[in-house]
């Protein structure tokens, strides 16, 4: 059980790290939101699932699952709202910038 938990947490950490790298590298707001959706919908979910498995199948398992579902369902709403605000205030995705 512990091995499964460690595996899930490591996979989640990988996605979190990749998301952060994307946050640094990608050129504009719209692309950066992709990096954010990567970290949120995969990284956080995998790490939380790993922690829940490590906790074992008790009541705390269910409570961590509730937090996981909250993160999983609400982050799309937040990034959509932010991007819609950006879109309506006139920002448009730029072409890839040459450095």
């Amino acid at each position: 059980m512990t091995a499964l938990a460690v595996f899930l947490i490591v996979v989640g950490l990988f996605f979190l790290v990749v998301g952060s790298i994307g946050m640094m590298r990608l050129p504009d707001v719209f692309s950066r939101a992709h990096a954010l959706s990567l970290t949120d919908s995969l990284g956080a979910v995998f790490v939380l699932a790993g922690l829940a498995v490590y906790e074992g199948f008790t009541l705390n398992f269910l409570r961590i699952i509730v937090v996981l579902l909250l993160v999983y369902l609400m982050n799309p709403a937040i990034s959509h709202a932010t991007l819609r605000a950006a879109y309506r205030s006139g920002l448009r995705p730029s072409a890839k910038e040459e450095k």
Binding site: S31, S37, L38, L59, R63, V66, L73, S79, K96
Partner: protein
């Protein structure tokens, strides 16, 4: 239906409060009943959400999310950063609010595509490169989401 909502709320209360002394349990039951009784269930002109089918939809969506997540992380880690971001208009047959919410949420949840603007019958989606759009263009997602809801009610 209201009974179902009350039971679900009560279960959530039990999980979150995690204390089983009688006062808390009774208080939770009362609150769950009141909340379920006060809130109306949809308007006549909606399509009902079928919860059992959602249980099949969620794992499918999660598989898609993992697959496209790997794709997007390969794009990010690749030294040349081969992204080709663009806004696409996605025409859809779905009209009701519930369907649009589920569809938009699924699109945003999948790495590589993000819903930017929603209107009945039309979504503006930001896609990070061409292969991220495949699910949308082939209409698989629309199909799956549409099947989550019952037929139109109160249309007669």
């Amino acid at each position: 239906m209201k009974v179902f909502i009350a039971i679900a709320l009560f279960a959530l209360w039990l999980v979150l409060s995690a204390s089983f002394n009688p006062a808390h349990v009774v208080l939770g039951a009362i609150v769950a009943l009141i909340v379920a009784w006060i809130n109306p269930i949809g308007t006549p002109y909606t399509r009902r959400f079928l919860w059992l089918r959602a249980l099949g939809y969620a794992p499918w969506l999660f598989g898609r999310v993992v697959k496209s997540g790997l794709h997007v992380s390969r794009l990010i880690l690749y030294p040349a950063l081969p992204i080709k971001p663009e806004l696409i208009q996605h025409k859809t047959k779905l009209r009701s609010e519930g369907e649009l919410v589920v569809l938009g949420n699924s699109i945003t949840l999948t790495p590589g595509t993000i819903t930017v603007e929603v209107a009945p019958g039309e979504l503006i989606v930001h896609a990070i490169d061409a292969s991220a759009q495949q699910d949308l263009i082939s209409g698989v997602l629309d199909e799956k989401v549409s099947r989550l809801f019952s037929a139109w009610e109160g249309d007669q």
